[in-house]
Symmetry: C3
Subunit: 347 residues, 3 copies
């Protein structure tokens, strides 16, 4: 139970009405019950204020009169999520180290760990305080798992990987498998040794079954705050800038550098050895074959500026019709030319 | 060994010729040997009747005379598969619970289970009769695994998931990982807690390394009889209708509702918050950016009606040629206009 | 430490200058230090010869005079990779069989194995000499793992699979899961039993979380020397020819036959039941809907010859402009036709 005024303070919002009302939880506007708080993201839904059973509502606008207490916040969804996290937050309770985990005697273990059975931790690993390793997690030698990180079941971390603090690696994630590099000897493919590592900075989340390959030489780097969805492929020597968002099934080829705060929508493919500028947004299923300047939106395969793409795809279904018109025009033009030529001769 | 008349009865077909012939197995028409049964899917291959060594053949048409016994069935492939399943069916033999599995004392276990080593079953789980859990399977707390279900090696089921009866989850499948939801706080991504669950109804099969995320709130639902291929991504709060078929590497974004009996071909991408009607078929690699009405076929990225797409892609390679013609026509038209203008002046 | 002349002999190159110089390691041209060898792939970078600190350089051209010893090799990158592999090669050191692995008493085990904890090996498996099975690896009954093969953590090999010598299967790979085959009985999907197997020949590498399905009947075959990247889907009864390269997130549908030395770039999709000829190259994100003849390059979805595709995609963004011009021309042509018709009447 929290007082509304406490919640407002917590999210940096302003109370409108009774700040003393007690809030016990959160829910969506349609499902909220008495005692709960909800939110309205967009002013055009303010009419819902009178319909919801919620005891308080976070609103995007300074409403002057309402029949229930409100919190005014510039970004009501963000405020709502912060309050949701507040109510959900459980104190971390370490479960200790299961005797059925196999941990190298040379590994350095922090305190208050949770290590489930069937976890394997290799030589000289460093597992920092309050890390949670679920069943079937493998951590290869010389790796680091940062404080408060959670490795879900069956995550594989190859040797020499460095995972930052508060990382969340979902089930089936593979960190540090060999990058895909071969050189042809005649027709035979000779493997280029992949002797670099993967560095994942703090506050990164990686979705289920995504794969982040180790560098050929040097590092593959996922910067602070990057969020990666499921089934994403990050090749060797890629760098992804801070706070970027990589949606499901994206593939990023080797040595490409993605800027900060970039969004790659689902199933995007990015070729190797290019740079994508800060704040770039790339539409779903796009194919990025060249470097992209910062602060713009792109779509298409191959990509073009998003607006150009919108015009293009609107026209695409008209292409067969255009072809017919073109054939028709060509024939008519020929007639016209003949008519003129005829008249020229007639003269 | 089964008599042909028994097999005909089992598949609802009609015997033509000697129903007493004994059948010991099944094979394709080219590989079948004496004692085996095979099938002809299409009447135009009926000539193969005289070539195959099979002792009996399932045919799509009432053939009046043949030199071997036949079963007439409206759908010979279906009849063949049913007979194949009949011959392959082994009685389920429970192997019991391996002492190297770790099962919470608060889990409820059905009878005749097969639980391999290195399986982890969390608190308050319910594992129903005759379920098979292969090595490395993880079942998080408060989950249900239905009767006769098979979880192949290294499947991860997060807490609170509900898996129906006769489910088949292939290796590396991840059920119930967090949906991908963040809200921006400046440039930082704040995680939206994913507190919903996944419900998988009866008779669902999920291919290797596919991922089905838990709902943000509420449920992600896979309805009865849905078949999902490998490496498919199903985001939070998606619902897939009964008997739908989702081919490999498809991605479905959050809160989208797929109808019944839908087919999404390989590598299709579907955006979030839309509805796809019953019986819709979407061609491979298509990008679905908007809701689709029932009972139609679509293709393309972005999708359009399939026939329209066929015309469009046939025209696409002609685009550069069209452009040349267009430039040519423009120049010729200009000349014509000038000629006419000239004549106007001449008058 | 190796003498330069030894290295030259090893890669089949020719020493230019002092062959007695001792080489202790390898590095890129910018990072190489004294004692190391590096390479220059392209003659246009020969000026770097005077800048690098390396003690020797592999060059693509017979340089007559240089201030340091050289190896001339037709393919300097290949020579460099061979020397890199030489320096990195560690003698394989078997670690033996961990007591926390569960191995069927009917399995045949070769010598000098490395089997980590939480490995499961089923009945009648054959694990050949010097194989390495990391934690969480599952090998189903009647499977073969060839000499010197490495199965990284959490790899699942279903029953009856045959893996050749020197295979590398990265974490999360699934070999031999059921192919995706159903036949409709009304709207219900009846499973077609998948009773074939997977054969992986020698010297194959499969990237993290890729999936190779077992055949419906017969075999899915990955031929000698094939290299498969991460998150690739290979469906039932596919055959991939020797030395082919399959880049990340490619999907190949059932019964398709890929030739030798083929390259499928990232995210390509290939339909079932077609043949792709030897030495074909397919561009990223392409959709292959029909058989492709040998020795050519293709791109696009649907694919067309690569050059045709290049012209097409260059024209695509101009499509809306073309449409405007077409409309304009149509109007102008109409005027011209009217003018001529008018003149006809005037006469």
């Amino acid at each position: 139970m929290k007082k509304l005024k406490e919640l407002a303070g917590f999210v940096g919002g302003a109370v409108i009405g009774d700040g003393e009302v007690e809030i016990s939880g959160v829910a969506s506007i349609d499902e909220a019950q008495s005692g709960q708080i909800t939110f309205i993201a967009n002013s055009k839904y303010l009419r819902k204020l009178s319909e919801t059973r919620a005891s308080a509502v976070i609103v995007p606008k300074e409403v002057t009169s309402a029949d229930k207490p409100l919190i005014y916040a510039a970004n009501p969804q963000l405020a709502f999520v912060k309050i949701l996290n507040l109510f959900l937050a459980k104190l971390y309770q370490p479960k200790g180290i299961d005797p059925n985990a196999q941990i190298s005697p040379t590994a350095q273990l922090g305190k208050d760990l949770t290590i489930y059975p069937y976890v394997y931790i290799g030589d000289r690993c460093q597992i920092e305080d309050r890390a949670t390793l679920y069943p079937g997690v493998y951590v290869g030698e010389d790796s680091v798992i940062g404080e408060d990180s959670v490795l879900h079941p069956n995550v594989s971390v190859y040797s020499g990987s460095v995972i930052g603090k508060r990382a969340i690696l979902h089930s089936g994630v593979v960190i540090g498998a060999d990058g895909f590099g071969f050189v042809k000897d005649g027709k035979t493919n000779v493997k280029i040794p992949q002797v670099g590592i993967v560095i994942i900075e703090d506050d990164v989340e990686v979705g289920a079954n995504s794969t982040i390959d180790r560098a050929a030489l040097g590092q593959t780097i996922i910067r602070r705050g990057v969020k990666i969805d499921n089934l994403v492929q990050v090749a060797h020597n890629v760098e992804i800038g801070e706070d970027s968002i990589i949606v499901a099934q994206v593939g990023i080829a080797g040595s490409t550098k993605i800027g900060k705060n970039v969004i790659l929508a689902g199933q995007v493919g990015v070729v190797g050895h290019i740079e994508i500028g800060d704040n770039v947004q790339v539409g779903a299923q796009s194919g990025v074959g060249q470097s992209l300047p910062a602060d713009q939106a792109f779509s298409g395969s191959p990509v073009m500026p998003h607006r150009e793409w919108l015009r293009m795809v609107t026209t695409l279904p008209k292409l067969p019709g255009m072809r017919k018109i073109l054939t028709d025009i060509e024939a008519r033009l020929k007639k016209v030319e003949e008519a003129i030529s005829q008249k020229g001769k007639e003269k």
